[in-house]
Amino acid sequence: MRIGVFICECGTNIAATVMTQKVADAALALRDVYHSESIQYTCSDPGQRTVMAAVQKHNLDRVVIAACSPRMHETTFRRTVAKAGVNPFMMEMVNIREHCSWIHDDTDEATEKAIDLMAMGVAKVREEVPLFTSKVPVTSEVLVIGGGVAGIQAALDIADAGIPVTLVEREPTLGGNMARLDKTFPTLDCSSCILTPRMVEVKHNQDIRLIVNAEVEAVRGYIGNFEADIRKKATCVDEEKCTGCYICVEKCPSKAPDEFNAGVGESKAISIPLPQAVPLVASLRKEHCRRYIKGKCGVCEKVCPADAIDYEQEDRIFTDKFGAIVVATGYELFDWKTAYPNLGGGHYPDVITAMQYERMLSASGPTEGHIRRPSDGAEPRNIVFISCVGSRDESIGRPFCCNVGCMYLAKQAILTKEHIPDSQSYIFYMDMRAVGKDYEQFYRRAQRDAGAIYLRGRVGKIYPLDGKLMVMGADTLSGQQLEVAADLVVLATGFTASDGAAELAQRLNIPYDQFDFLSESHPKLRPVETTTGGIFLAGTCQGPKDIPDTVAQASAAAAKVIGLVSRDEMETSPMVAEVNHMRCIGCWKCIEVCPYKAIEKQKLRDGRQVAIIIESLCQGCGICNVACPPSVVSLRGYTDNQLISEVVEVLR
């Protein structure tokens, strides 16, 4: 056994606090250590060559590298020693930067700690055995969860590479929130004109299987080999037969809230959310249907010319295998009513959300593009827009910026001027955030061409007076307290994670933040990956963002997915659990605790039942190792003996 120890100076990152030469000298005094040295930058090309040369010159068979966190350079150094002919798993990294030099000031004590850490590494590497990676096949089919613009973009990009995609959407149609918008900033192109062609493309793409009214209920497996249960909810309509003729919608006697139109106007119990729906299929909501509430009715069944109504339809669950998953579950708008009693708390009909205003602006919306006050149907003249409702407000626990409010209010002010030329828009804002391409010019256009009056301040209160809404605000630039007598007030409500995002994250075993937005693996360098291999993020499920950013992220996620599933097989880590069958007592504690379902019972020839590890499923988390009562499960690369040697070393 010949061990080499290399101490990295990391420029001054380590060397300023730890006397690296002293650590190297201390290493030479340890048993089995035949070579040690201090290197300025071990990860650099010359640094790696120094390691390789030393391995060959001193005929080393194990290596300890004391440097940064293994999260940074473990792969680098495994490759380095492998090139020099040493099994890559016979290299042990010791973290003397994040765990030592960066967090200590006293040079002597830090050096002493670094020596201890290094000695523990040497003790561990002594017990190391060569390990070898194996390969597992990769399922090529991809699951995309969410059919908004992010999910559509990701699905189309992946399918363009010839990879089969299953796109699961919870609502009856593709399109998500973008389908509800009238026009989009900063170009004012019509939202549905640019989105619906993409929706149709999804429908006609041979490689995409679209499942609407469906949710992902359970996910098992691991990168390259996931298995998902998808629940297709009963809608009482046979999608194969329905032609989207609207006759049932026209004849349906049960009124229902119109969620697609954000509550502007009314819908029916059986409905099609929008004329460009994909698929163009009706769906019935039982909670509003007379047949299910009162027990009698059957109008839709009677009038349907395609015989597509099936009241007996039940939820179906099907299971499929996927190589990768893209999560694109989007956002919902913040429900402002309880948080802001000072803005009326929803009691004044003429205080509406920007999404409701958006549906009014839309030519295909419930008012056919006419701006009308909900209270009396009159055309408003003075319209007040209020930014940051439910955003940047620590007092209600929502400190983050919605990223789009500034721009969509500018857009709505411009559109308002187009719809009602003699109207006057007032926009209360706190800070103007116009950071995208052409956004600043767009904001100036709202001021200069649409004549919107920007008031830098937050609104304190709204109260009704003589048929108007008095908006009490401040203009901090002039230092004035002011009131605007408004006909209509539009609130720019912020983003929240979509309903059930946290539960889905738990099912997928991916992390999410305190606001239920899903967490990327690294905010800069791994923006579409999650910490679970094979699961990627796209769009606003990861955090508030606008359409250009959403589409860019969706394409980035697609590129990552294509890179992953276009391989036939992938390497798996050999650092997995193993069971000593001679001593296994068959208590199945390990099977109970395994989060990856990677342990099975197996009958040996002598009739005894023991636990066996399915190596392709095991992620090496080590829980079974700890749970095993007779302690016969161990984790390769982290065996009990290795860990005990480390502890013995540090206590010596």
Partner: protein, 189 residues
Amino acid sequence: MIELTKTLEDGRELVAEIERRTGQNLAACYQCGTCTSTCTANMAFDYPPHVMIRMLQLGMVDQVMSSHTAQLCYDCMTCSSRCPVRIDVADVIETAKNMADERGLPEPERALRLFRKLFLRNVSRHGRLHEASLLFWYNVKSGTLFNDMSLVPLILRKKKVHIHPTRIRNRREIRRIFSVVKNYPRLKK
């Protein structure tokens, strides 16, 4: 014009004192103006509430302490309850006023302080305001005995002011409220 580095340096200690007494972090204010938009006394102020906080952020403590705003704010607390970053604006303004009191007020504000003191004493005695005695004592104490005397016959004739005080029934309760408030530090939210 102020020389900002100097103003900041000079004001640092007193601003820290205000933050210490109120338990507030004034740097948290992002000048949204909610306090000003809901202020019920702003029409009488020389600086709106958000400007008071801004001036403290810039170290302009003297202006804050000698402002009319500090003297005239009557602690309705609307600003504090609506502040999105949970700064107790009313407490900050009141603390600035108290600190100004402790250090002796500049001349034009003495009248205000006197009025406030007499007003409260008047209410604590009668349970509600008795204007005639307030006017009398104010003129006596401020040394302007005959100030506005020519108006007295007019307001008496129009019955705007009564010579005899109308008192509330349970004046002991009022005195108790006053003593509790006097002996307790500000009730925290």
